[in-house]
């Protein structure tokens, strides 16, 4: 090719020399134009090459760059399709408990408002809840921005839009929505207009919720079960009305994992209007309130005495007459006036017996035992409202004895049920959590052993006896082997106790041969009525509520009922329990 070009160039240069005329070409000089031609040829080639290179480069740039952009956009698209500020909260079955929905907020830019007077009239026409003077003031003020109303409903948004007022504009915002309303208000809490968690789980895990929202499909899976929560809520509401109680609390917890399936405190309030709720409604009785929970503490006293080998199941204590210690006298509420063995102390809820047992264990060991159960410090629970137990400053003998039957120490109901779960689950410490285990948001591992398996088995038997024969008879739920302990305590007041202001508690677990769930029911100042023959003790109000709750939630939670075995079946070695306390031979429903 170069040969061809050279020849044509040479011809051209010959023609040029002919045209100019004043220089005649000689054979000797013929080499010079040839050189020139070569240089020009090279330059032209280089220019062409450069052009092609630019074109090629541009081609590459276009294809690579544009495809990069769209890929990036697709990735963004899949990542946060809906870029919400807070992640959804769902229950253990995936039911939505809290979510962010897009909403519109109305603001005014006064510099663009034509007639503030007319505008205020029109706005009031469609948003009657607002103050006309305030709108007029905002619309006529200096400045660029003032909120008129946050979170309009779609109808309000449409109505204001239809007015077509210049200067009144919308800002797209997000609004926290709780489809279940007040049902979960004491567990989830609520968050404010700026999507900041202000109470409950929303406040305690505020940052986690915001981080989760940034990850694709991120949602917080809680351990809660909305069905169980509803049953607990409904039964407690009914009980509050029936016994004219001031308040109530209910908790359901998985005794093995510590997962909280339901947690309610009544009265409650709407998460949309926390400002108008009374203090009584805002107060979380289940996790923030600390109470002297009375006889339910006898379970801890008995477990501790059995664990330290201070007593065995057949040991007996003198409960013939009230016990005088220092200036105090300890009475029994259900006096038997005789010597009682350990199971009878539980069945008849003997204060005297429990106090003597606690004295035999001693202050040091009692304190250590309660500490290992987690009763002496606030729980690491995922709520903003966690109560700190009140314990005696000087742990004297009298304190040891009163704590033996649940006075002189105040804990939250959540403390009580966690400790109780530890006693019946085989002796492994239960730490309550609101989050579903094994979903990556909680690092709960196997807890430490607090009591021996044998002690736990004995406690199961004792708890079952309380329901079969003792103060907790009304807590029975046919087939589900409920076991537990009643507690009736007078409320502490300045300088003593209030006689007629009671805190009644029933803490129980089921099925007692192989416990899976623990349930707590607490009523704040219940009153006796005709049906209870005027009695206001826990056995008359808290216990039956618990029985009703268990008989409804047990089938839902897949607990197989065990009905009394037929006569021909003589394989049972524990006739009192019907089944063995170690859960051997139990059939679980498989759904």
């Amino acid at each position: 090719m170069s040969d061809l070009s050279v020849r044509s160039w040479r011809k051209a240069s010959d023609d040029m020399s002919v045209d100019t005329g004043d220089q005649r070409l000689s054979a000797r000089q013929a080499g010079q134009p040839l050189e020139t031609a070569r240089t020009r040829l090279f330059v032209a080639g280089a220019i062409f090459a450069l052009c092609f290179a630019i074109l090629g480069g541009r081609l590459v740039q276009l294809s690579l760059l544009s495809s990069g952009q769209s890929q990036q956009r697709v990735a963004e698209q899949q990542g946060g399709a809906l870029n919400l500020e807070r992640a959804d909260i769902v229950d253990r079955n995936g039911t939505l408990l809290a979510t962010n929905l897009p909403s519109h907020s109305l603001y005014v830019n006064p510099s663009q408002v034509l007639d503030a007077n007319e505008a205020a009239d029109k706005i009031i026409g469609v948003l009657p809840g607002l103050s006309r003077a305030e709108i007029f003031h905002k619309a006529s003020a200096k400045g660029q921005f003032a909120w008129i109303k946050r979170d309009l409903t779609p109808e309000q948004h449409y109505a204001v839009n239809r007015l077509g007022l210049p200067g009144f504009e919308f800002k797209r915002e997000e609004r926290r929505v709780y489809p279940h309303g007040a049902l979960f208000v004491h567990t989830l809490g609520f968050s404010g207009v700026d999507n900041k968690g202000l109470a409950g789980l929303e406040a305690a895990l505020d940052d986690d919720l915001k981080q989760l929202a940034a990850t694709p499909g991120g949602k917080m899976v809680t351990a809660l079960d909305s069905r169980v929560q509803h049953i607990v809520h409904a039964e407690l509401s009914a009980a509050m009305t029936e016994f004219k109680a001031k308040g109530a609390a209910g908790i359901v917890i998985d005794v093995n994992s510590g997962e909280v399936l339901a947690l309610t405190s009544l009265p409650d309030f709407s998460p949309y209007a926390p400002g108008s709720a009374k203090t009584n409604q805002r107060f979380n009785r289940a996790t923030l309130g600390v109470y002297e929970l009375g006889s339910t503490f006898k379970t801890f006293t008995t477990a501790m005495a059995l664990e330290y080998g201070v007593v065995d199941m057949n040991d007996r204590y003198d409960a013939t007459k009230p016990l005088k210690v220092a200036r105090h006298t300890i009475h029994d509420d259900h006096p038997q006036n005789r010597w009682l063995d350990v199971s009878e102390i539980m069945i008849h809820s003997s204060n005297i017996g429990a106090a003597r047992m606690a004295r035999d264990v001693g202050a040091e060991r009692q304190k250590k035992f309660l500490d290992r159960l987690g009763m002496l410090s606030p729980l690491p629970f995922e709520l903003a409202e966690n109560g700190r137990p009140i314990t005696p400053r000087h742990w004297r003998e009298i304190n040891t004895m009163t704590i033996g039957f649940g006075h002189g120490i105040a804990v939250t109901p959540l403390h009580l049920i966690s400790g109780f779960a530890t006693l019946v689950n085989g002796g492994i410490k239960t730490t309550p959590t609101l989050l579903r285990i094994n979903t990556g948001y909680t690092d709960q591992t196997g807890g430490e052993r607090v009591i021996a398996r044998e002690t736990s088995n004995s406690m199961r038997t004792l708890m079952r006896l309380v329901v079969e024969q003792g103060t907790g008879k009304k807590a029975e739920a046919e087939g589900y082997l409920v076991g537990g302990k009643t507690g009736t305590a007078e409320k502490a007041a300045v300088g003593g106790y209030k006689k007629n202001a009671l805190i009644t508690t029933f803490v129980g677990a089921f099925p007692m041969d192989a416990p899976r769930y623990a349930v707590l029911v607490m009523l704040d100042e219940p009153h006796g009525n005709k049906a209870t023959h005027g009695y206001a003790g826990a056995g008359w109000n808290a216990a039956p509520v618990l029985g009703r709750i268990v008989s409804q939630i047990a089938p839902m939670l897949g607990v197989m009922p065990l009905l009394p075995a037929s006569d021909e079946d003589d394989s049972q070695d524990n006739t009192q329990l019907l089944v063995r306390a170690d859960g051997e031979g139990r059939h679980f429903a498989s759904y």
Partner: protein, 121 residues
């Protein structure tokens, strides 16, 4: 100059340029289509999100309990209604009579025609 070579060197860039132009327009078209689809997807996702919230609102246990009480003749499951296949008093007799497992279930559920009808289908 060699004619075929000239045609080649003028034609090639021309073809490339035209092809590039066409592809570039095509890409632009596709991109706007993508953007439109993305917008549509976002709108749909938003709608689904709102519907999820609505679904949860309509499935409030309190509401379902109220509706069930009003329209359905159902009650919470009683312990007596739950048995396992190892429940001997049931199976012993029936197996002895030569019933297959499904027949045992049918036999036991016979009084509850609503359930057996469902199982037959």
């Amino acid at each position: 100059m060699n004619r075929p070579a000239l045609i080649l060197w003028i034609g090639l860039p021309a073809i490339v340029t035209i092809a590039l132009l066409l592809v570039s327009y095509q890409v632009k078209g596709l991109e706007s289509e993508l953007a439109e689809l993305e917008r549509a997807a976002l709108t749909q996702q938003e709608k689904i999100h709102v519907l999820n919230a609505e679904w949860s609102f309509l499935n409030r246990p309190e509401r379902l309990a109220r509706l069930a009480k009003r329209y359905l003749n159902l009650a919470p499951v009683a312990p007596k209604q739950l048995i396992t296949f190892s429940y001997e008093p049931l199976t012993k007799d029936l197996v002895a009579q030569g019933f297959a497992v499904q027949n045992i279930v049918m036999q036991y559920l016979a009084p509850h025609s609503l359930i057996t009808d469902g199982l037959k289908q």
